[in-house]
């Protein structure tokens, strides 16, 4: 069945094996995934299900052992500013201020200084860090650091934002606030987001599609559209029903693995 448009990301039969101490470990097998522009896709699953591996293949940090990963129909051959990554441990440059970190990408890509400055100011405002523009990363809280990490990816014209458990190290309140802010950004900018999490609630709250993965070897099990109206209420009955459903899927894998 021919589609009229090329998807922004498309993975065909993607697999990845690592050599660990002479043993071959299959981290991901036969992953097929198509993501349209504007999708908010959450990858969810137990540890070892290959969700981070899949994300790193899309980022270009790892090369697929089998199959192919395409962006706009072209093979992904390495990291690229069009696919920005937000790490759980932030990955900010400690020697650069908030301004410097956000301006790193545009400056590296040879944008004129005046344009870099203008971009930096715009994105500092966007993530509400105006008062901390000259602070260094070690002076910021975890939530602020993650805002900088998101801002520097957006300031660099990323079309796809890849997020690897970005809020996993934050306290519950900060996490909820950043989830709200991220959704607002996503709705406003028509970004495409690929978001790895192990929290079912986070996945349902954020995503337009939930991709359920399972370990041994890592693979994609289910691809569930989440159509709940936004803003979503985590205590609403339909939210809870979805949560139970997804939880059941994840737990059945645990059972199967143990057997």
């Amino acid at each position: 069945m021919a589609k009229p448009t090329v998807p922004i990301l498309s993975l065909t039969d993607v697999g990845k094996s690592f050599d660990v101490g002479g043993k071959r470990i299959e981290a991901l097998r036969g992953a097929n995934l198509e993501i349209e522009r504007g999708d908010f896709v959450c990858l969810i699953g137990a540890s070892g299900c290959g969700k981070s591996t899949l994300l790193r293949i899309v980022a270009g940090f790892e090369t697929a052992t089998t199959g192919e990963a395409l962006m706009w129909g072209k093979p992904i051959v390495g990291p690229d500013p069009s696919r920005g990554m937000v790490f759980q441990d932030y990955g900010l440059f400690p020697w650069l201020s908030v301004r410097g970190n956000i301006g790193f990408g545009p400056a590296s890509r040879g944008r004129p200084p005046a344009e870099v400055r203008e971009t930096v100011e715009r994105f500092i405002e966007l993530v509400g860090l105006g008062r901390f523009a000259d602070a260094y990363p070690h002076q910021l809280s975890g939530g602020m650091k993650q805002r900088v990490a998101i801002a520097r990816v957006l300031a660099n014209d990323a079309e796809v934002v890849l997020m690897d458990e970005p809020f996993g190290a934050l306290d519950a309140m900060t996490r909820e606030r950043l989830q709200d802010e991220l959704l607002e950004l996503w709705e406003r900018t028509k970004l495409t987001v690929l978001f790895v999490t192990h929290s079912i609630e986070e996945a349902i709250f954020l995503s337009s599609r939930c991709v359920v993965m399972s370990p041994g070897p890592g693979r994609i099990d289910r691809d569930i559209p989440i159509t709940l109206p936004r803003p979503r209420d985590v205590s609403a009955p339909d939210f809870n029903e979805l949560r139970r459903e997804l939880s059941g899927m994840l737990h059945s894998h645990h059972g199967r693995q143990a057997a």
């Binding site: 990291p79 500013p81 990554m85 440059f93 400690p94 020697w95 070690h138």
Partner: protein
Amino acid sequence: MSVAMDGVGVPREAAARPASAGARQIIGRMRQPLLALALPALILAGWHFATAGRAYSLIPPPSEVAVALWDLAFGGINDDAFSGTLLTHVLASVSRVYGGFALAVLAALPLGLLIGRVPLVRQMLDPLLQILRPIPVTAWLPLAMIMFGLGPRSAFFLVFLGAFYPVLVNTVFGVRSVEPRLFEAASMLGCQGSAQFAKVVLPAAMPAIFTGLRLGLGFAWVVIVIGEMTGVPTGLGAIIMEARQLSRTEIVICGMVAIGVAGFVSDRIVMLIGRRLLAWSPNHG
């Protein structure tokens, strides 16, 4: 360094008790220098009582050294070959120390970046450098004299060798301990390949590099004395050797004091520069 995030300073405790506040503050401010001076004063006193007034003391008392130091610096007391020559000797040593040190940094820094980051360079150079490293700088002296002749060029070479390894080893260490995550972050932001040397490797390794610079410069001051002890007319090492041959022990001590002060000052300068450049690091500044 930390920034007051809330923008409101905490009121000083002393402000609540204005009567004793001034005195307390003065004592508080004097505490550190007083503690630092206690032991030197004690040593000086011990030195004085052990040497002053004895007819055949081989070590001159501190007062005699102080007079000699004045004469060495400004002249007008003894009017001998040493009078008023301190500045010439200090400048000679300083220029060799900083010249050799600068050359060592120029060689060790890029080499350290390459060894730390490029496996091929590491495999080619590391074994050779590791074998040369345990050879003490003093052991190079005879060879240096053959290669560079008697004189300042040998001293210069020894200083270079002495400063080279601390800078190299610390640079390599700094480069190898850069978080791999930072390379991933840089490359997904569009900074890839050799551009990462200047924008990621160098700044990330800067704290370790600065440790190397401080050690290297300190070592340069150690080595300069050895370098200047062989057929060099000027320099603090030369003056110490010459005074020793003439049994002018007070001049020997003056030379030692001058080296101590010069080494201390140059270390403070490096530290101040480092504090500026490393303001971002929670462990510096």
